[in-house]
């Protein structure tokens, strides 16, 4: 326990300050020392270092379930494969994607883009609840 915290508690015990004043002081002390609230702790707990897997869960109303756990490293390695696609094939892929409304060049994806993508993927969460009771969840976790 810090010295300041002890002093505030002693002042409260001595009756020099009220309980609400002590609470305000402790809050202020927590903020200044960078103490974590439960919300910030929860956000910081889900850092890219801790998160290793992407989960895809499909729960259908007919009890047909799909449960997939994909290591994020596998996604990263898979994305790096795009660098090995021959230029002739890349043109075909880009053309086919453009036809489907996805107008971007796969050859522009760089290793740092992949790292950034994986980093941001950690914060992604998809929840789909259909009318007939089917549930699809995609999220990242440990």
């Amino acid at each position: 326990m810090g010295e300041e915290r002890k002093r505030i508690l002693k002042m409260l015990a001595d009756g020099k300050i009220s309980a609400s004043e002590a609470e305000d002081l402790l809050d202020a002390l927590g903020k200044s020392s960078g103490a974590q609230t439960p919300e910030t702790a929860a956000v910081q707990a889900k850092t890219p270092k801790n998160v290793k897997y992407m989960y895809v869960k499909v729960l259908s109303a007919q009890q047909d379930n799909v449960d997939v756990r994909v290591p994020l490293g596998l996604i990263r390695a898979g994305m790096r494969f795009t660098a090995l696609i021959p230029p002739q094939a890349m043109e075909h892929i880009n053309g086919a994607m453009k036809e489907k409304g996805m107008n971007f060049d796969l050859s522009n994806i760089k290793p740092e883009d992949i790292d950034e993508l994986i980093k941001n993927l950690v914060e992604m969460e998809v929840n789909v609840n259909s009318k007939n009771g089917d549930i699809v969840k995609v999220f990242c976790g440990e």
Binding site: V70, L74, A77, R80
Partner: protein
């Protein structure tokens, strides 16, 4: 770290039941020996491809395949069809 074990479980109704425990840690040394045996051919193929300006680099592909296989550790796929009482379960450890 490369995967060491693969568990495969396929169950389809009353008729078909398959359980395979594949010790990949035994497979990798054989794969390494095979790679060493094929290495001279791979080097020749790489040189020919580079001379032909094919832009296909065998050793880069091998490196990518290795990183892909290494990253497979921890992959699990479970598919359960309750109506047909079938289960497919693949776990790579």
């Amino acid at each position: 770290m490369i995967p060491s074990v693969m568990n495969l479980k396929i169950h389809s109704g009353e008729r078909f039941n398959l359980r395979i425990w594949l010790p990949l840690f035994i497979v990798w040394p054989f794969a390494l020996v095979l790679l060493f045996l094929l290495l001279p051919f791979l080097v020749v193929a790489e040189i020919v491809l580079r001379l032909a300006n094919a832009r296909i680099y065998l050793f880069s592909i091998l490196g990518c395949v290795f990183s892909l296989v290494s990253a497979m550790r921890g992959l699990t796929v479970k598919v359960n069809n309750a109506r047909q009482n079938s289960i497919v379960d693949v776990t790579i450890l």
